[in-house]
């Protein structure tokens, strides 16, 4: 096991010294007060997510006061690795929607791509501005040792969580200003500006102004990431629109304003492909902008991320990302993939069935930490249940070894204890490729737990990158 704060059992790593002193001085009373203050703050600003639970209308994610710290050199490696991956994923998308070289080179079997629902046929032969399909890539990482990181999954559609990254920092600076005097923490509050610059750098060909009009398209207040949508549009100073605010006329997309129609150049969409255009995708969709795909394909508007970008973060495609990096960039992958068995291959399936109690089994289309089996932590009966599910539908599952996620010091009932964490940094791909100077650290608050998802008792932490 690897604890990010400790060099060895009793030696604290240098960059955690300040935090350790700070922790030693903190009394239970202060901890309680600060926890209450953080909770009130999060409730007041409304950074909540809706749940299906009957008891609470809205929940907030538990926030841990102890920051997670990366040194400059640790982060530099991550930065290179994540940007490399984001470039390869975009190159992959450009390839499979055009020549399909990676298939011709027999690196990825074609049925893994063309038969997928997330492969968007209407994108074939079209190249979006700068050939960027996924301008915001969220990479989920875990750390298992000093110098060992694994990518758990890629998020190429509309990764969320960046509002937590920013708000966690905001509350930390408000509650513990002294910490920021004694530690040189790289600021992250320019992220929204960088995001806007990225979007503006992706204006469509028919846009003839140097300041394209960008909007954020949200499904509406019932969406669990709605706070993030309004937060980001506010920080970027752009309109947050719903699809009913937009309409197509002639070659362009417009929004309805009190002044009359206003042309829109770039849509940062936070809705799924299916709901973009009822003429092109789901004809039964009541949300969506009829005709937007025509405008998009003829260069009247850009849609970020591009429809069909989701194929790149498919769990079956994940296996091939290291190959992609070599194929498109001619580089060695900086970040490692987790070894993955795809159960649709007979050999893999047999291996998985024989070793169920040592493996983590995930649904190919699952998310949120649901529908998965953590073999070493599961009872015999749930293992047997998964064995039946797997045999019935091997295509629906992949399996991975259980990674020993790193521990981060966490306040549990006013005591510092180690809890497992992961990390999602956000990579922006526009005129420049750049990584956020921080990310969202999720922490499994339950003792011994490997599940960091907020829907299952996960919390969040502020994530620091120390300046050089």
């Amino acid at each position: 096991m690897f604890n990010e704060m400790y060099q060895s059992e009793s030696v604290i790593r240098n960059h955690y010294n300040n935090i350790n002193e700070w922790l030693e001085k903190m009394t239970a009373k202060v901890i309680n007060e600060k926890n209450a203050e953080a909770e009130t703050h999060f409730r007041n600003i409304g950074i909540t997510f809706s749940t299906n639970s009957e008891t609470a209308r809205e929940r907030i994610i538990p926030f841990d006061l102890i920051p997670r710290i990366f040194t400059f050199s640790e982060w530099s490696k991550l930065e290179k690795g994540v940007i490399q991956r984001a470039k390869a994923l975009n190159a992959f998308l450009a390839d499979i929607y055009n020549q399909g070289e990676i298939i011709k080179a027999n690196i990825i079997p074609k049925e893994l791509i063309y038969k997928k629902k997330s492969y968007e046929v209407s994108m074939f032969g079209f190249i979006p501005p700068r050939s960027i399909y996924s301008p915001i890539v969220g990479i989920d990482l875990v750390r298992t040792n000093h110098n060992e990181y694994f990518v758990l999954e890629d998020n190429c559609r509309t990764p969320s969580g960046v509002s937590y990254m920013l708000e966690n920092r905001e509350i930390m600076m408000r509650m513990f200003p002294d910490l920021f005097h004694t530690n040189r923490v790289t600021p992250i509050d320019d992220y929204p500006t960088r995001l806007l610059q990225t979007l503006m750098s992706l204006a469509p060909i028919k846009c003839n102004t140097s300041e394209p009009v960008c909007v954020l398209l949200t499904p509406g207040p019932l969406n669990s990431a709605y706070y993030e949508h309004s937060f980001l549009s506010d920080q970027m100073g752009i309109e947050m629109v719903e699809s009913t605010d937009l309409f197509v006329e002639g070659e362009f997309l417009y929004m309805k304003t009190v002044d009359g129609p206003k042309k829109v150049d770039v849509v940062y969409r936070r809705i799924d492909d299916d709901f973009l255009d009822p003429l092109c995708f789901n004809p039964n969709s009541v949300i969506g902008i009829p005709g937007i795909m025509d405008v998009y394909r003829t260069g009247g508007v850009n849609i970020c991320s591009a429809p069909g970008a989701g194929i790149a973060d498919d769990k079956a495609i994940y296996i091939y990302v290291p190959e992609m990096i070599k194929f498109y960039l001619g580089e060695q992958p900086i970040l490692e993939n987790v070894q993955t068995w795809s159960c649709d291959k007979n050999d893999d399936l047999n291996y998985v069935l024989d070793n169920l109690s040592d493996l983590v089994v995930k649904e190919v289309d699952g998310s949120g930490g649901y529908g998965m089996l953590i073999g070493p932590k599961s009872s015999k009966s749930s293992i047997e249940e998964f064995r039946r599910k797997l045999s019935a539908n091997p295509r629906g599952y992949i399996a991975q070894p259980l990674l020993d996620l790193s521990f981060s010091p966490t306040l549990i009932k006013n005591q510092v204890e180690g809890r497992r964490v992961d990390l999602r940094p956000f990579c922006l791909m526009g005129e420049n490729a750049q990584l956020s100077s921080g990310g969202l650290t999720r922490v499994a608050m339950n003792e011994g737990s490997f599940v960091v998802n907020s829907s299952q008792g996960g919390g969040v932490k502020d994530t620091w990158v120390l300046a050089e």
């Binding site: 409730r43 007041n44 409304g46 709605y226 309004s230 549009s233 629109v241 009913t244 304003t257």
Partner: protein
């Protein structure tokens, strides 16, 4: 500004204003229930329901009219679309959508109100708590209004205030009407002591009693009170004041001058009339008839605003 944003801002103000009116109405009922009634029958709660436009909904739910039930229906009941609870809930879900179009303080004011009313709703309350609930509501609405003072004076600001004054014009008119039409169905009471006493309660519930005293000397008479609440443009709840402000915020809009003009033309006559009219001639004409016309006019202004700007 997005049409939908303008619409939501307009409705946030309307809901907040309506929450206040309903809380004040409950206070009217509460005060009247403490006085002996000429009929020996407590009909004040029925009048309060009528004034809130909630009588049908209430009767669908309950067979008898009693204080506790009326209070619950008007304050907390989620089945009543205009209950204080629902007004705050609606204002808050609209605010969630347009929080980026007003100040963080305005969002906080509404969101905190929402958090607190969720707690209040879970506590069992007692009839004697009612004045506290009313006071709490007024305080919360004032917090929201105060937060608007730091807003940029743009169209969003004007839509917020259009909503406020359209709602208030309608509410004030309805309160007046209830006073004449419902509270005193029998003409012989008009001008009597009970009549004046009920007028005074109305003034108090509009927190205008002291203001009235400052504005008028001598006896409290129904004519003076009617003048105060209809024509006196110094009184922030009078019909005259509301109309003036609707005109002001409408003509301050910088978007779509032709739409503004169109609506202004339909309002112009009413505005001129109410500035020049004498209370005696309104009473001769019939206050109820006057108020009914007024309510209809406001309602058509409201639908013009919605059609021209929000569609």
């Amino acid at each position: 500004m997005l049409s939908r944003t303008a619409e939501y801002l307009y409705w946030i103000s309307r809901y907040m204003e309506r929450a206040e009116t309903n809380a004040r109405l409950l206070d009217v009922g509460y005060r009247m229930s403490l006085f002996p009634n000429p009929n020996g029958y407590n009909n004040e709660w029925e009048s309060v329901l009528a004034a809130a436009g909630a009588i049908q909904g209430y009767k669908n739910k309950y067979n008898i009219i009693e204080q506790k039930k009326v209070e619950d229906y008007l304050f907390f009941d989620e089945d009543n679309p205009s209950s204080v609870f629902n007004c705050i809930l609606n204002a808050r879900s609209n605010a969630l959508v347009v929080r980026t179009s007003f100040t963080p303080e305005s969002w906080l004011a509404i969101n905190k109100t929402y958090q607190e009313i969720l707690k209040l709703k879970n506590n069992n309350f007692d009839a004697s708590d009612l004045p506290n609930l009313t006071e709490w509501t007024i305080e919360q609405v004032n917090l929201f209004r105060g937060s608007l003072s730091s807003l940029l004076r743009n169209d969003g600001y004007n839509f917020l205030y259009l909503g406020l004054f359209v709602e208030r014009a309608d509410n004030s008119a309805r309160l007046l009407d209830v006073k004449y039409f419902v509270l005193l169905p029998k003409p012989q009471y008009i001008g009597g002591n009970i009549d004046n006493m009920q007028w005074s309660i109305l003034l108090r519930s509009l927190s205008s009693f002291n203001a009235f005293r400052w504005a008028y000397d001598g006896n409290v008479t129904s004519t003076k009170i009617a003048d105060f609440l209809v024509l006196n443009s110094d009184c922030p709840r009078s019909l005259s004041f509301c109309i003036q402000n609707i005109v002001k915020h409408l003509t301050n809009l910088t978007c779509s001058p032709e739409k503004v003009n169109k609506i202004y033309n339909t309002l112009k006559d009413l505005n001129t009339k109410i500035q020049e009219e004498k209370i005696e001639s309104i009473v001769d004409f019939g206050l109820h008839e006057f108020v009914t016309q007024f309510i209809n006019k406001i309602s058509s202004v409201d639908s013009d605003i919605q059609m021209e700007f929000f569609n």
